[in-house]
Symmetry: C2
Subunit: 92 residues, 2 copies
């Protein structure tokens, strides 16, 4: 494995965890008013495409990394639907 | 180009645009309180890694798609810093 490969694997690993800080913040604060539902619906749909692509290419790295992002995206969709009104509720 | 390739290119195109609904929502509503700054800082750093990786692999598809996501991520970092307090300001 050369330096370019290491850079690629490192970048891929970080990509997998990109949504994690948002999931943790939203879980902690129970507020998702400013979050775009469309962003995470598109992300989840897109990750399903990548997982299918990974299976068809028989590439388990693509399948597994995108499965992680899929779970995080679906978590944000659930959080958005659950916590979207929390700021409004607090004001009321 | 076979069906698997078409799926891969389609998935890549959608990935490029994933952050766009969030950018548009935040631009419109001028509120970013619920947005994770860390998420978009990690995303921006990660996209720089992918752009460098693309250059080193001489793969302009990787360079260009990740350059688009980099611009959207940096836009969200700026919006977060600019609009983070807007809900609090409105309440005051």
């Amino acid at each position: 494995m050369n330096g370019v490969d290491i850079l690629g694997y490192s970048a891929g690993f970080i990509t997998t965890l990109t949504f994690l800080p948002q999931v943790l913040k939203t879980y902690k604060e129970k507020s998702a008013r400013d979050i775009s539902l469309n962003m995470f619906l598109i992300a989840a749909t897109n990750e399903i495409m990548w997982v299918v692509y990974g299976f068809l290419k028989n590439d388990m790295v693509i399948v597994l990394t995108n499965a992680v992002v899929l779970v995080l995206s679906l978590t944000m969709v659930v959080f958005k639907l659950k916590y979207s009104k929390s700021v409004a509720n607090k004001i009321e």
